[in-house]
Symmetry: C2
Subunit: 190 residues, 2 copies
DNA sequence: GCATGAAATTGACAAAAGTCAAGAATTTAG
DNA sequence: CTAAATTCTTGACTTTTGTCAATTTCATGC
């Protein structure tokens, strides 16, 4: 669980013994491609760190499916609202590939604050960081064209383009698969 | 400061004496219409609760201006990332009308955690709630047409339509002022 | 109250993005 | 390795949304 250590360290800046305490609460878990990690409407009973693989967060509504995000190695995944507020999960989370996770149960997650006094404060900072990133994303959706959003993805997360079905990336960027494909060609030619 | 009390109470669920402690740290402040509360690039030195009035959060880039959000009575306003991480403010915040605030300085804000042990935990929940709302907003931008986004605003925040310049609402919804105007007419006629 | 400036509306047009359908390419399962 | 299924690409066309410019409406300061 070396990688989990390192990420917790880099995200939260805890002492060694605190990291050890938290780390013990995470258990290895694997998902096969196409397995669901979470289903919309269900309770969200866990939080996971992605050791390897790709998870797609998406919503189904009426006829169409909207991919909200694709989470990858080195990131956490859950429905935070559902986990914290005990509300029904707002989306599906499904493995796009065989995936290795380190998973903490809701009850163990809730106990961290008792074990490590600084935890709530550090987690607050972590969530605030995520909040700031989402604000940037809203901004990109408000102000950028489809082509610019594509370029932004290319800059910030080029690995994704080779690893997951492009239709999901298109949806995540708020455009149709056809538009995505045409932008892609345009970029190749230029 | 009755209204501040009530909001802190409803948001955070603290004891009376805890609320009193926090409330003392907030000082009344007023802004004239068009005054800036915060300027992009500057340090963000405070957090405020809006007692009355409207504040516009926006970014200027190249030629155009993008309104990220308009904050109103009963909500908090700041650049959270800039406040917490001591980074330059990412946007302007300007009063759209004469505005009354209750304001806490950065240093007092940072001291709350020492005064009220549960604070970090409660604030974590508050920020997580905001995060969840922002996730919903991303979803609306990914999946809804301009017309549907207009209707959503009409449903969730009808008061705004009478109180602030429509061009800013248009921008906040990710459409041009002209499109906004045409949708409006269409809705009137129907 | 009136003059000025800002905001909103409207029309004509242009550009961006979506839809549908067909076919090519790639991936997957046996 | 092959057949089937899925994904990606492409063209033709439609719809949505944006842009520009002209007017009208509204707000503001004197």
């Amino acid at each position: 669980m070396q990688e989990l250590d390192q990420y917790i360290q880099s995200y939260f800046g805890l002492e060694e013994h605190e990291i050890a305490t938290i780390q013990q609460l995470f258990k290895p878990e694997t998902l096969k491609k196409h397995d669901y990690y979470l289903k919309m409407g269900r309770a969200c009973e866990r939080l996971s760190f992605i050791r390897s693989g790709y998870l797609r967060i998406f919503v189904t509504q009426a006829d169409k499916e909207v991919t909200q995000w694709i989470s990858t190695q080195g990131y956490f995944v859950t429905d935070l609202s559902a986990l914290i507020f005990n509300t029904p999960a707002r989306w599906h989370i499904q493995a796009l590939s065989d995936t290795e996770l380190f998973t903490i149960s809701k009850s163990d997650y809730q106990s961290i604050g008792d074990l490590i006094p600084r935890w709530h404060q550090l987690e607050k900072l972590f969530i605030a960081k995520c909040f700031g990133m989402l604000e940037e994303r809203v901004f990109s959706l408000l102000s950028m064209s489809a082509e610019d959003r594509y370029k932004l993805l290319l800059d910030t997360n080029p690995a994704l383009l080779n690893e997951v079905p492009l239709q999901y990336l298109a949806s995540m960027l708020g455009m149709s698969a056809e538009t995505f494909s045409r932008i892609r060609r345009k970029m190749m030619e230029a």
